[in-house]
């Protein structure tokens, strides 16, 4: 390497230790060239540094992130935030709506259950109260009847019912039995206390309150108007008519015309055809 090239190395600070800068500067020509080149280098060092555009740098960083498999900041900025918030808001709205609907259904069901409980509670309480009252009333009557039977040295009421009753007792029993149970000889039903007292003979040994409650409920099912004497009178008349005209008994499927019926223009109890009514009037 010649000395001129060593000057370049000295000028840029790359001269090795073996080179002697003082020896180079002793040469007049080399010294003049060194000063000339250092002046040019001074101008070159005054040049400003140039940088690439920011967009180019962003593209380079994005490419580096993509190559390493990492999401880029640029991609996050381009994402629309509305879509994510809308989905989250829609999901929250759906969840709240489902919870509200479930609460409404549960409330309605609980309300219905409570209403049914309130409606059943008075009936059950009345039944139990009635059963208790009837038990209290029936028990002394049964005791009284038992005491009477014991005093008269007679068989128990149940045995007397099952055995062949005497004519007097049979009449008393028929008179005291309810209407539905004695259709052969209809009798007006006794008042409730009397019927209970009479039936208490048959049910004296039934000590359970449930049976007594059912029996009282059956007695209560008889309408009040059915105990009137007028109804019994009408019932006897119907039976009498039924015995006199067996061909018109209930259940006959044959439909008879009015012409077949017996007619008597003089009597009032017979059926009068419509065609002859005008003539009579």
């Amino acid at each position: 390497m010649n000395d001129k090239l060593h000057i370049i190395q000295h000028l840029y600070g790359e001269a090795d230790a073996s080179s002697d800068p003082e020896r180079l500067l002793e040469d007049e020509a080399l010294r003049a060239e060194y000063e000339t080149l250092s002046g040019v280098k001074f101008h070159l060092d005054q040049r400003s540094k140039q940088r690439p555009d920011a967009v180019v740098l962003d593209n380079v960083f994005a490419a580096a992130a993509t190559a390493s498999g990492q999401p880029t900041l640029r991609a996050r900025q381009d994402r629309k935030p509305q879509a994510r918030n809308a989905v989250r808001r829609y999901g929250l709205f759906g969840t709240v709506s489902a919870v509200v609907a479930l609460l409404i259904v549960a409330g309605i069901g609980l309300y219905q259950v409570q209403q049914e409980g309130l409606m059943q509670e008075p009936v059950a309480s009345s039944i139990s109260e009635g059963a208790e009252v009837m038990t209290d009333q029936a028990t002394p009557l049964a005791e009284q009847e038992e005491s009477k039977a014991t005093d008269a040295d007679r068989p128990s009421p149940i045995a007397s019912v099952e055995s062949e009753p005497s004519p007097e007792r049979r009449a008393d029993a028929l008179a005291s039995a309810p209407l539905g149970r004695t259709m052969a000889e209809p009798q007006p039903p006794a008042p409730m206390e009397e019927s209970v007292a009479a039936s208490g003979l048959a049910f004296a040994n039934q000590e359970t309150d449930a049976v007594l409650a059912d029996d009282v409920e059956a007695e209560d099912s008889v309408p009040a108007w059915d105990a009137s004497d007028e109804v019994l009178r009408v019932h006897r008349q119907l039976e009498m008519v039924e015995t006199r005209s067996p061909e018109f008994a209930w259940g006959d499927s044959t439909v008879m015309s009015l012409d077949v019926l017996p007619t008597n223009p003089r009597g009032r109890d017979t059926v009068t055809p419509v065609s002859t009514r005008r003539g009579n009037h």
Binding site: I8, V40, L44, D45, R47, F61, A63, A64, A65, S68
Partner: protein, 202 residues
């Protein structure tokens, strides 16, 4: 704490540290872009070449293409890619003028072979920016001398690295630098003479 280029490269490749790569680019962006801008003398084109250079660099660092051993100097490796990108562009535009290295070795400067219709120094002096004038002076240098000036002044590569990069001996790189400085000296002297002549004429 200052991290070397190799440490930053390792952090980016092994730990996927994006900030490490960012530091690398920001640390050397002026050197790389200054070289590219001096080579093509067009800012938009220099931006495109800068981006193209780093696309190649990223691919090579992930061993998709080329090879980066992490044993050499990272900037010198990147500058080789940038130089190839610039030369590819210049060759495609047929602006690259091949000047033999023997001419420089023989002492024939490019300044002596400049055409007579070159821009006059007075026109350059009338420009507002002194740096633009100096940049144009560098642009008038032979490509080999201009390349060495840019690599040494802007990229701050050593002459040994420049020799390795340009695939020449270190003496050739030093000789090209010496002739480049002498040619620039003559340009400056001519501009001063023109300026003095104008003052005297006025």
């Amino acid at each position: 704490m200052h991290q070397t280029d190799e440490e930053l490269v390792a952090a980016y490749l092994e730990q996927h540290d994006q900030s490490a790569f960012r530091i690398l680019v920001e640390r050397h962006q002026e050197r790389i872009f200054g070289f590219l801008l001096g080579m093509v003398r067009d800012r938009d084109l220099a931006n495109d070449l800068f981006q193209e250079t780093f696309v190649r660099v990223i691919d090579a660092m992930h061993k998709r293409r080329g090879s980066y051993t992490q044993q050499g100097r990272w900037l010198g490796w990147v500058m080789r890619i940038a130089r190839n990108a610039a030369l590819d562009h210049l060759r495609s535009r047929k602006k690259w003028q091949d000047v033999s290295a023997n001419a420089d070795d023989e002492g024939t400067s490019y300044w002596e072979r400049l055409p007579d219709d070159a821009p006059a120094a007075d026109e350059i002096l009338h420009r507002d920016a002194q740096q633009d004038w100096l940049a144009e002076c560098i642009d008038q240098l032979p490509p080999e001398q201009r390349e060495v000036v840019l690599l040494r002044q802007d990229t701050e590569l050593t002459f040994r690295e420049i020799a390795e990069l340009t695939d020449v001996s270190i003496n050739t790189a030093l000789g090209r630098m010496r002739y480049a400085l002498l040619n620039l000296r003559r340009m400056i002297d001519e501009s001063k003479k023109k300026q003095l002549a104008e003052i005297q004429a006025a």
